[in-house]
Symmetry: C2
């Protein structure tokens, strides 16, 4: 795999001096055009030690207009990072649309060094690389251009480079003891690199191997390839209409035939007030005790609340929070995204609020908006919301794998109950703000929403993150059921 | 001080049931009006243990429309927080304009508990409280409404409350061993609280002491006071024109009379090319070595680059970065703020990028925009940019106190040199993007800018963060001088 990068490619100084200014001008024009486009560019610089990964980043920082470039690096994870799912740190370090992110160190660093160090075996490495592919795929599908370079040096060249750096007082500081250790592991590192590159060189995000022995060749090759890729992508965006996907929206079967999960719920279930009061106190107490333990053991939880308008999400939240430590929870109501949020993948704004160890985030509506309101209102294209099911499943897998107790509630009421509640809200001064013309408009689309909810439950109720359907025509019943489920889930997580 | 909060205030259930819905409606209307205003509201809930700080937060979370409220809590600082100046964590937890931030635990928690625990003495406490006042003043001057509650219980009432909580299985989990320890320290805590409240009850952000024995009285009092304060503030914003400050812009003395720092620079200083090459290599090597040590010892640095258009900021950055570890620096070019940034105090966007321990942030233009371009172009009102000098000095004091090496460079060229460079840029393809009509417009305002720069240097060159004026008509000379100064500063920080 690396043979072609050991042939001794070189660029003469005279040639470089002609080509470099051209390239630099080209990169600046491409960057300028990028400002009008709607995708981000991620440039990963990986490779063997001594190949000059940092120098390449510095060179790119110098070539590009720094106003639209940002370099990201990943050192040892901070405790804020360790207390969250592994990919949190990568999600927080993504360039917004129209900008360029430069990565020295990336989601590849840990798997490779874990394997070279012998902390994981080949199978673990493959599993980690599947994660990497899924992550990159989500970004690429969202429009991101990912350009991955692997800077290669032959073993002899690596030794030579290290010697040169050491001999020069201006660069001696760069040769650390760690590098020397790596030098000894050259073969092992090469083998792991090969496996990694093979498994992650996808059509959407292929690896480019660059011989790094000659600095001018290395920099010019990297720069030119970036220029080509950005130019091609800009061309393509200009030409292509929004991708007509081969996926077709799910066809709704004839009315009456379909046995829907929602249709099967028994909405007549209820709880009398005195009974409710007792049960509520009981489960709040239990939840409070479990939440305290969870806080102690750094077990986080995430509560996702979805449901019809007026189904009682707010009321349920008000019954949950008395059981929580006010220092440890956040309620995140999902409304219109800010412009920073809009400039990222739609999951980015949810990653932002993933709780630290032991804390709780309550999402009042959530990422499921992608397959509900965005689907119905056409804010997302069919290919976008259709692929969201698997993206969401993957996202939730990362959360639960990290040990987060993830609770997903769908609060279900019927159409009549909703109308009754709308009218009640209109009568109650402190509830009036909750009811707008939008609510009636959404109500008119009840059937389309019902279809979307059924699809959502069918496709995203997983073993690790099942949907809990809450019969909510009776608020008392709904609240107690949800509190009970939350307690059970926490108890299980603490076992 | 607390006598009035030990009188046994109570609200009868019947009274509460009439007043609570009124209050709730009022709060929602106020919150609605706030959406059209342009200031944030900060509500701090502090007080003795057992007084129900968390309950009050939960109650406010329930009363308000959760879409525009966010609760912030501060536990033990994370390592990301510890590696940055103390106030970083508070700056990252500020509500944007038009929203409400609820604080359980705040910038008061640590000073109070440090004093009660005997880790600091009275004088240290006072110093910490001066910091608190400066912080709150900056927010208030920027328009923030800060409402601070102190929930008080008499010693007997505190004991009683703890017993009640313990007796009830639903709330027993709340009584921690820590609380019991605090119970024993009641007197000491009360004394420290009194000192704290006295020193920080300012006209702009007074403390409201609330007797917390009766839950209904406590909640109603807090709610009503919040309603009054927000309403009054909305009223005031509607009535008052932008504050006509008693500060007057600095009067420029007669031309020719003023001896300006800039005028005294000898711009004829230069460095011949062969000499430059040697010196550059020398100082890059030295800086590289020192930067590596700084990284090891977690000494961060911040480089602020200001200067005339075309003074060579970009070129200097390109000469600094080869000496830095690509994993450890960020270049932050200051352009138009995002909407999230615009919704905060102007220093917020700079706090965002304060480096972690051992890292480097290079600001390509900076917070000094407030007293330069914003002053000249009228983007900031005179009272705003005039108070910015002391806000900036305070900000930089926090940075340097934390051990950050802060370097502030003003790259100085004369008007002729600038014009020459503008013309050069227009001829060079990869520099054309740097030159726009704006540059010529700014050039027309040279004298006004010169005045602003002189004022800036006069008022913000402090012992802990001096301005370095770099004679930059000769780029070689300028780069070597700046690299040299940066090395010296790092060397001093590492001693």
């Amino acid at each position: 795999m690396f043979e072609i990068a050991e042939l001794g490619h070189k660029v003469k100084k005279s040639e470089y001096e002609i080509k470099e200014p051209e390239l630099r001008t080209g990169l600046l024009f491409a960057q300028d055009a990028l400002k009008e486009a709607d995708f981000p560019v991620l440039i990963l610089i990986s490779g063997v030690d001594g190949a000059g990964k940092g120098d390449v980043i510095n060179q790119l920082n110098a070539w590009f207009d720094p106003h639209y470039v940002r370099a990201y690096a990943f050192d040892t994870p901070s405790d804020e990072e360790r207390e969250r799912p592994r990919y949190w740190r990568f999600w927080r370090a993504l360039p917004p649309k129209r900008q360029i992110g430069l990565y020295v160190g990336s989601w590849y660093s840990q798997p490779i060094s874990d394997r070279v160090g012998g902390h994981i075996d080949d199978a673990d490495l493959e599993r980690a690389l599947v994660r990497v592919n899924t992550f990159e795929e989500a970004l690429v599908k969202d429009g991101a251009l990912i350009i991955k370079f692997w800077l290669h040096l032959s073993e002899a060249a690596q030794r030579q480079r290290t010697k040169e750096l050491e001999a020069n007082p201006a660069t001696r500081w760069r040769v650390t003891t760690l590098d020397k250790k790596h030098l000894k592991q050259y073969d092992k590192f090469k083998r792991v690199a090969e496996q990694t590159l093979r498994s992650t060189s996808t059509g959407d995000a292929p690896w480019i191997i660059v011989e790094a022995t000659d600095v001018r060749y290395r920099n010019l090759t990297v720069g030119q390839h970036i220029l080509e890729r950005i130019t091609a992508r800009l061309q393509q965006s200009a030409e292509t209409p929004p991708p007509s996907t081969h996926l077709r929206p799910i066809a709704a079967p004839e009315a009456g035939e379909r046995v829907s999960v929602l249709g099967n719920l028994d909405l007549s279930q209820q709880l009398a007030k005195p009974h409710y009061k007792k049960q509520l106190a009981k489960y709040q107490g239990r939840l409070g005790e479990l939440a305290r333990q969870a806080r102690e053991h750094k077990v986080s939880s995430i509560v996702v609340l979805e449901g019809w308008d007026a189904a009682g999400k707010g009321g349920l939240i008000r019954r949950i929070i008395p059981a929580l430590d006010a220092r440890g929870y956040q309620i995140i109501p999902i409304a219109a995204p800010t412009d920073e949020e809009r400039a990222h993948h739609y999951l980015w704004r949810f990653w932002r609020h993933i709780p630290r160890g032991g804390n709780v985030t309550i999402y009042d509506r959530s990422w499921y908006g992608r397959v509900l309101v965005e689907r119905i209102e056409g804010f997302a294209r069919p290919d976008e919301w259709m692929r969201a099911y698997s993206e969401i499943n993957h996202f939730e897998e990362l959360l639960t794998e990290h040990g987060i107790a993830l609770l997903k509630f769908w609060l279900h009421i019927d159409k009549d109950e909703q109308l009754k509640r709308f009218h009640e809200r209109e009568q109650t001064p402190f509830k009036q703000y909750k009811i707008t013309a939008d609510d009636y408009r959404n109500r008119d689309k009840w059937d389309a929403y019902e279809q979307a909810v059924n699809d959502m439950i069918e496709r995203t109720s997983t073993a690790y993150a099942p949907w809990h359907l809450i019969e909510a025509n009776d608020k008392y019943f709904a609240r107690v059921k949800a509190l009970h489920l939350y307690s059970e889930r926490l108890a299980a997580a603490l076992r």
